[in-house]
């Protein structure tokens, strides 16, 4: 009877702990699922937010401008030679086309604003196109150019807050003393008048409150301080008074300034910018920006409001009006931003592209791959398959493992000291970058290769040796092919890391503004270049708003490169993977 009790005891002991064991398992599994969920969520958020910012940079508003390539402007020498074509006044040609498009624009300041609808660098692009096809001289040509970056952002709705208000009354326009005087049959302007009037009164009230507070502080302060505070309060009062006067003008006409929302009345062929709003909500004063006053037709009209005041944005009301007119006339169209891929870096965001950085990255990676892969793999093969196990090889092994942990900027310093200062290699060149990055990648490849070689079962080596293969034949015929997937994966991951590296390149002058892409050829290796992560870094620093989207777009392109690299690694692993 002793046996059953022993059995029962074991069983009881196991059963009493069973629940605890299952709970522990459940805890562990849910922790794992939670970890995966969190990392996926973070990744989705990260890529999603970059994609949201960057996707707008892949499209751009293009101005299709008909230009007259008159011979006397394009070909001043009249011989059609390249030298002559290079001396052509291409910016004049562009300016002429713009003036033709908007004949009503006059005055130096207004014209300058008009010519800011595109960047002046486009004249060089026009010249390049004429040089590429001299048959264009003397013809009418539709030149496609990107619209200025701020206007591009405006058209994408990223620069200002705006709205279009519905109108109901018919509009009557009469010439006034300085401005045109507008009269609507219904109170179409009332809402706007009230909005602006109220915000003026609110601002005035705010100033008066601050003035009271300041005066209260002054009453408690020392004499010097009190004097200063009183003066400040007087200032507030004066400004509040001015605002109230502005809001309640004696003639019932509220004057619009550049600190207030811009209100534009648009008709079929013309645009009027309001300069004053009547308190009756029906009358207004305006100046004409687009079209001729005599030709204004009023049956169809609408009110377009730009809530962001002119003083707080980089583009003028008239530039917005011209741009809208160009869109209306079908001269501005949204298209794929091919310049993002066709151009190298530029000071003007609308002309800036990743081509230079992409080519630089490709050239740098070629050098890195060509150096680090063979050296790394053969080092690993020697250490793993041939080298005797002694103190020297142990020392080498420890050092290789340490090299993998060295901060990458140290490799940059090494490159600067050795390759530039000692060997006098060209700065900023993909050759140099590739050398430095391969130093950085080598330990990764060696370690990955050794791990892959170690994973090949010794039975394969023995089998080969048993048939009479030499050590080298055993390695090259059997061990290396079996280790290939692991080697490739390790190498590609090492290369992908090198592709995303910025710090070591900082030291060797690859962080620079380089406006020409290196050629994809032998000479490209020594031409100044930059790489994708550096381009991202430079654009991130760019002053123009439009660089913001381009930074995100460049990140997306780099991510795309990385993902295709990793996909390649997975594909190669699958392809060469053999089971034994």
């Amino acid at each position: 009877m002793t046996e059953p009790t022993v059995k029962n005891k074991t069983r009881l002991a196991v059963e009493s702990r069973l629940g605890q064991r299952y709970r522990a398992e459940l805890r562990f599994r849910s922790a794992g699922i939670a970890a995966i969920f969190i990392s996926v969520a973070v990744l989705v958020f990260l890529i999603g937010s970059i994609a949201k910012d960057g996707v707008s940079a892949f499209s751009a508003y293009q101005l299709k401008l008909p230009v007259n390539l008159a011979e006397e402007l394009v070909d001043p020498n009249g011989d059609g030679s390249e030298q002559s074509l290079r001396r052509g006044s291409y910016s004049r040609i562009l300016q002429n086309s713009m003036r033709e498009e908007f004949p009503e624009v006059s005055g130096r300041r207004n014209l300058r604003s008009l010519f800011q609808l595109y960047t002046a660098l486009n004249s060089t692009r026009l010249m390049d196109q004429v040089l590429a096809d001299p048959a264009l001289v003397g013809t009418e040509y539709v030149f496609q150019l990107p619209i200025a970056d701020d206007l591009d952002l405006y058209l994408k709705g990223m620069l200002v807050e705006d709205r279009t208000l519905p109108v109901s009354g018919t509009l009557n326009i009469e010439p006034g003393r300085r401005d045109l005087s507008l009269q609507s049959a219904e109170s179409d302007f009332l809402e706007l008048y009230q909005e602006i009037h109220q915000s003026l009164i609110a601002e005035a009230t705010g100033l008066e409150l601050r003035s009271q507070e300041t005066r209260h502080q002054a009453s408690l302060a020392e004499s010097d301080e009190a004097e200063r505070l009183t003066a400040q309060a007087d200032g507030f009062d004066a400004r509040a008074e001015a605002l109230r006067a502005e809001a309640n003008a004696p003639d019932g006409m509220l004057r619009l300034t550049s600190d207030m929302p811009s209100i534009i009345v648009e008709t079929a062929e013309s645009a009027l910018k309001l300069t004053g709003l009547g308190s009756d909500g029906r009358s207004a004063q305006a100046e004409i920006v687009l079209g001729e006053a005599a030709q204004i037709q009023t049956p169809d009209w609408s009110v377009y409001v730009i809530d962001t005041p002119e003083a707080r944005r980089r583009i003028l009301d008239q530039q917005i009006i011209w741009t809208r007119a160009l869109v209306e006339r079908g001269l501005v169209e949204k298209g794929f931003n091919s310049l993002l891929f066709a151009n190298a870096d530029s000071r003007e965001p609308e002309l800036a592209g990743v081509k230079g950085a992409l080519y630089g990255s490709i050239l740098t990676m070629i050098i890195t791959l060509a150096l680090s892969m063979p050296i790394g793999v053969f080092t690993a093969v020697y250490l793993e398959e041939y080298a005797p196990k002694n103190k020297l090889t142990d020392l080498i092994e420890v050092n290789i493992n340490n090299l993998a942990a060295v901060p990458s900027i140290v490799f940059g310093l090494l490159g600067l000291a050795v390759f530039i200062n000692m060997f006098g290699m060209p700065r900023s060149a993909p050759l140099l970058g590739g050398l430095v990055l391969s130093l950085m990648t080598l330990p990764t490849i060696i370690i990955a290769t050794r791990a892959a070689l170690k994973a090949v079962p010794p039975s394969i080596r023995q089998a080969a040796l048993g048939v009479g293969a030499s050590q080298t034949q055993a390695v090259f015929h059997h061990v290396l092919p079996l280790a290939a997937p692991g080697i490739l994966t390790g190498s590609i991951i090492g290369l992908a890391r090198a592709l995303g590296e910025t710090a070591p390149l900082l030291m060797i002058g690859m962080v620079a503004f380089i406006a020409d892409a290196p050629t994809l050829g032998l000479e490209g290796f020594t031409q100044p270049a930059t790489v994708m992560p550096v381009q991202i870094f430079l654009w991130y620093d760019g002053a123009e708003r439009a660089f913001e989207a381009r930074t995100a777009a460049a990140i997306l392109i780099l991510l795309g490169l990385m993902i295709s690299f990793n996909a390649l690694a997975v594909y190669l692993r699958r392809k060469f993977e053999r089971r034994w």
């Binding site: 089998a463 048993g466 048939v467 030499s470 053999r578 034994w580």
Partner: protein, 269 residues
């Protein structure tokens, strides 16, 4: 214990001088400081199966690996003494192990075909040694080797399938085919059936029985029944010493040494 170890080997009979394929005199093997084999001497006849039996760690596999210098690949292994195959000294440093191994095939415990096609597995040896001048010749060698290994009927229609896709017993026969493709004089087998099921084992044993007509086969086995079934000569190893060596029948029916008797009657091991 030392007294027991010092006992000399018991030999049942001399082998005909003309029939000696492998002659071993005073072989010691060291792994670092540890001695794994003590003064082993024996003569192995040609065209027959010689089995090495003994408990685990007795040095029988180590001894087998001396014959094609596979011990060279182990760090810190040292072999001394004389080991002649056909009158040629194996341990002579001027002998290239590659040349030696081309003449001494080896089959391992676990089937280890290359992760390549069946054809490439068998053709590998002839290819690296340059035994076939033409593709036809190579095809001939592959077919013959597979026939000799009794695998041709099963795989002749799928020579390009991976060798690793075969069953365990087929893989082991493939490995034997691979070994005989280079036409060796001696085939070493290190427990060739220990990873196989009884049916596959029976097939391999049958194959060994056929092969002994043409080759000198030396096998290590854990199964005394197997040794009794397929071998003509048996050597019993214990703790690094060759205890007793003689015709299989004699060893199993009239062992002269106490330890041999204890081992084959199952008292230890």
């Amino acid at each position: 214990m030392t007294a027991v170890e010092a006992q000399p080997t018991v030999y049942h009979q001399e082998i005909d001088a003309e029939n000696i394929k492998v002659a071993v005199k005073g072989v010691d093997v060291f792994y670092g400081d540890k001695q794994a084999l003590f003064d082993v001497s024996l003569d192995i006849p040609d065209r027959g199966v010689t089995a090495f039996i003994g408990p685990s760690g007795c040095g029988k596999s180590t001894f087998l690996r001396c014959m094609n210098r596979m011990n060279d690949t182990i760090d810190g292994a040292r072999v001394s003494g004389s080991l002649m195959i056909d009158g040629g000294e194996v341990n002579d440093p001027t002998i290239d192990p590659v040349v030696l191994r081309a003449g001494v095939g080896m089959v391992f415990q676990k089937p280890n075909p290359f992760p390549k096609s069946i054809y490439d597995n068998v053709a590998y040896g002839p290819r690296i040694h340059g035994l076939a001048a033409t593709k036809d010749e190579l095809d001939g060698i592959v077919e013959q080797s597979l026939r000799k290994a009794g695998l041709w009927a099963e795989v002749s229609d799928r020579l390009s399938d991976p060798g690793t896709g075969l069953s365990g017993g087929q893989q082991q026969r493939l490995v034997i085919a691979r070994a005989i493709a280079v036409n060796p004089e001696v085939i070493l087998m290190d427990e060739p059936c220990s990873a196989l099921d009884p049916i596959a084992t029976a097939k391999i044993e049958e194959l060994i029985d056929e092969l002994r007509e043409n080759y000198c086969i030396i096998m290590v086995t854990h199964s005394m029944a197997q040794a009794a079934r397929v071998s003509q000569m048996t050597a019993f190893f214990h703790l690094g010493h060759l205890v007793e060596y003689g015709p299989t029948e004699d060893i199993f029916t009239k062992p002269r040494e106490r330890r041999t008797q204890d081992y084959i009657t199952g008292r230890f091991g």
